[in-house]
Amino acid sequence: MTSLVAAAAPRRGTTGWLSARWSARRVLRGPVAWLAWGTLVALSVLVLVGPLFVTADPQAQDSVALLPAGTAGHLLGTDDLGRDVLARVLAGGRPFLVVCAAATAASALIGTSLGLLAGFRGGWVDAVVMRAMDVLLAFPLVLVAILMVAVLGGGTGNMIVAITISQAPTFARLARNLTVGEVSRDYVRASRCLGHGSWHIALREVLPNVSGQVLVQTTSTLAVTAGLSSALSYLGLGQDASAPDWGYMVRAGQELIFSNPGLSLIPALLITAFAVAANFAGDDLRDATDLGRL
C-alpha cells in the first residue's frame, strides 16, 4: 500500500490479518474467560470423542430398566427402556452440537455476506435485502424456527435450516449497518483510487474491520442456537424420539424425575453449560474488541 493509503487506513491493517488477529493471547482475559472457552472445548471433545470410549449402544434396550447411577456397567444407570444413560448422553450431544455449530456458522456466513452485499451496493439491492430481513425479523425468532420446522419436518438438517433462517437476519442487519459506516470512510476511497475492485475492498479491507463485532455476535448466536434447538427438541418438534438428543431427553426424563433424575438433569445441565460458556466467551471477545485488541 502507498503511504497515503496506509495513513488513511484505520489501525487494523489488512496484511496478514488472519494470523495477527487470532492469536489466543489477545483474547482470554481472566479466569472466567478461560473457564468459558475451556468448557466449550471440553464439551465439544466430550461429544465428539466420548462415544468411542463407551461400549454400550445408546439404542440397545437390553438392560434392566431404570437402574440407578453407579451400577456396574452402567455408570449413569439406565432409562425406562433399559438403555444406558451414559451412552445416550454422549451420543445425544452430537446432534445438538452439529445443529448449533452448523446453524451458527451458516447464519453467520449467509447473514454477513448478505449484509456486506447490501451495504456495499446500496441502492435497490440494499433496500430489497434489508426489507426481506425486516420481514423475517418481524416474527419472533422462535416462531420462525417453529414454523420452518413445521413446514420442513423434523430431523437435524431441517432444524439447521430452520434456525439459520431465523438467525441470519440479525447478522445481515449488523453487517450491513457496519458496512455502511465503513464504506464512507477514506480508506475505502483510497483503495478504490488504487484500482481495487469491489470484491477486493469488501473482503480484504472492510471485512477485517467489521469482523470483531461479527465475531461477538457469533458467540451470542451460538448461545441462542443452543437454547433454540434444544427447546425445539424439547417440544418434540425436532428429532424423532428414538435417536438420542439432549433436548428431547430432558423432556422424556421429566416424568421419571424421581426414579432417575439424571435422565433429565444431566442433558439439561450440559445444554446450560454450553450456552452459558458461549455467552461468557462472547463477553471475552467483546472485551477484546473494545480494547482494540481484536
Binding site: V32, V135, A138, F139, P140, L141, V142, L143, I146, L147, V149, A150, V151, G153, A223, A226, G227, S230, A231, Y234, L235, G236, L237, V250, R251, Q254, I257, S264, A268, I271, T272, A275, V276, A278, N279, F280, D283
Partner: protein, 381 residues
C-alpha cells in the same frame, strides 16, 4: 460554478470564472422563513417521525398476515385428509364436497382473498381436533398469554433495571461483577431448563406453588373479558385473584429470570454510557447531588437504548412464552401453537402464529413511539 448555500451565509456574488455571476444574491435563510400554507403543513405532518412510524404498522401487519398464510400453505399434509382421517367409509364425493366447503379447491389467490375477508369477520376456521372455532380458542388463550407476558415484562423490567443501575453505580467492585455474572447466566439458561428447575424446586420439592394451568380446576370461571383481574372486579369475585396469581407466578418468574439478565446488562451499559457524557459533568459543576444527577440527567438519556432493547427482548419473551406455556401446560397462545404444530391442526396453527406475530409487531411499534417521545432529537426527523 456551484456554490454551496450554507444557512446564514450570503450566496457568493463574486465569480472568478468566466461564467455569469448570479443574477441576484440568494436570500439569507432564516428559520421563520419556512413556507406557509396548508400544503407545507400537510407535508410536515406526513413526514413527522411519529406519523411515519404509525403508518408502518398496518403495512407490516398486512405483510405478516400474508406470510403466515403462505407458510401455512407450505405445511405438508392436506387439511381435508387430516379432518377425515378418523372417519371410516367416507366417499370421494364427500371428500370433494368438504374440500370445496372449506374453500380449499380454489386457487391460491382466491384462498388468500377469502382468508383475509374471513379475518376481517373474525373467522379463522376450526380446529380439526376439537371442532371449536379458532377465533373462540384464541379469544380464550390470548388474554392468558397477555397476562403472562405483562407479568414477566414487569418483573423482568423491575429486576433488570434495578440491578443494572446498582451494577453501574458500583462499577468495578465485586457487586458489579457478581451482578454481571448472574445476569449472563440468567439469560444463557434455556427457558425449559429454568422451568424444569422451578417446577422441581417450588412446585414439587417445596410445594409452594402450583405448576399446572392458569386456574385451579376446582374453581369455576366464566370469562367476560378473558382477563382474570378485570373479570374479578367486574364479576365481584375476589376469590379468583389469589389462585390466579399463584398459577401465574412460576411461569412469569421463569420468563422474567431469563429476560431480566438481558435487561440488567443493557441497563448497566446504557447507564455507564450516559454517565460518561459531558453534560453530566456540567450537571456536577452546577452542584447537583449524585442521585439528582442519576435521575435527571443519566436515567432519561439511558432510557433510549433500554427501551429499544426491551422491545427487542419482547420478541424473545414471546418465544420463551411459547416454550414456557408448553412446560407449565399454561393455556395461552403459545401452547396452542405448539399443539397445533404437533397435531398438524392447520387453522389453529395459522391463527395462533398470526396472533403472536401481530403482537410482536404492535409491541415494536409501541417501543419505537416511546423512544420518539423520550428523545427530542428524533422528533423533527
Amino acid at each position: 460554478m456551484v456554490t454551496a448555500r450554507l444557512p446564514g451565509t450570503v450566496a457568493d456574488a463574486h465569480s472568478t470564472a468566466t461564467a455569469a455571476p448570479d443574477p441576484a444574491p440568494a436570500p439569507v435563510w432564516r428559520p421563520d422563513d419556512e413556507p406557509s400554507g396548508w400544503r407545507s403543513w400537510a407535508g410536515r405532518v406526513v413526514h413527522h417521525p411519529v406519523v411515519l412510524r404509525l403508518a408502518q404498522v398496518p403495512v407490516v401487519a398486512f405483510v405478516v398476515t400474508i406470510i403466515v398464510f403462505l407458510v401455512a400453505h407450505l405445511l405438508p399434509g392436506d387439511p381435508v385428509t387430516q379432518l377425515t382421517a378418523n372417519v371410516n367409509g367416507i366417499t370421494p364425493e364427500e371428500v370433494a364436497q368438504l374440500t370445496s366447503q372449506l374453500g380449499l379447491d380454489a386457487g391460491l389467490a382466491d384462498q388468500l382473498r377469502s382468508y383475509l375477508v374471513g379475518l376481517l369477520h373474525g373467522q379463522m376456521g376450526i380446529s380439526f381436533y376439537s371442532g371449536a372455532s379458532v377465533s373462540s380458542m384464541l379469544a380464550d388463550a390470548l388474554p392468558a398469554t397477555v397476562e403472562l407476558a405483562v407479568a414477566a415484562v414487569l418483573l423482568a423490567g423491575l429486576l433488570g433495571i434495578v440491578t443494572g443501575i446498582v451494577a453501574a453505580r458500583t462499577q468495578g467492585t465485586w457487586v458489579d461483577h457478581l451482578i454481571r455474572g448472574g445476569a449472563t447466566i440468567g439469560f444463557s439458561v434455556p427457558w425449559f431448563v429454568v422451568a424444569l428447575v422451578a417446577i422441581l424446586v417450588f412446585g414439587v420439592w417445596l410445594g409452594w406453588l402450583p405448576i399446572l394451568g392458569r386456574l385451579p380446576t376446582s374453581l369455576t370461571y366464566e370469562p367476560t373479558t378473558g382477563f382474570v383481574l378485570v373479570d374479578a372486579v367486574l364479576q365481584g369475585r375476589p376469590d379468583l385473584i389469589g389462585p390466579w396469581l399463584e398459577h401465574l407466578a412460576l411461569p412469569a418468574l421463569t420468563l422474567a429470570v431469563t429476560s431480566a439478565g438481558f435487561i440488567t446488562r443493557v441497563t448497566r451499559t446504557a447507564f455507564l454510557d450516559a454517565q460518561a457524557q459531558q453534560w453530566v459533568r456540567t450537571a456536577r459543576m452546577k452542584g447537583l447531588t449524585e442521585s439528582a444527577i442519576s435521575v435527571k440527567h443519566v436515567l432519561r438519556n439511558a432510557s433510549v437504548p433500554i427501551l429499544t432493547i426491551v422491545g427487542l427482548m419482547f420478541g424473545g419473551l414471546l418465544g420463551g412464552a411459547v416454550v414456557t406455556e408448553a412446560v407449565f401446560s399454561y393455556p395461552g397462545v403459545g401452547s396452542l401453537l405448539v399443539e397445533a404444530v404437533t397435531r398438524r391442526d392447520y387453522f389453529v396453527l395459522q391463527g395462533s402464529a398470526l396472533v403472536i406475530a401481530l403482537m410482536f409487531t404492535g409491541v415494536n411499534a409501541l417501543v419505537d413511539l416511546s423512544v420518539l417521545a423520550v428523545d427530542p432529537r428524533l422528533r423533527r426527523g
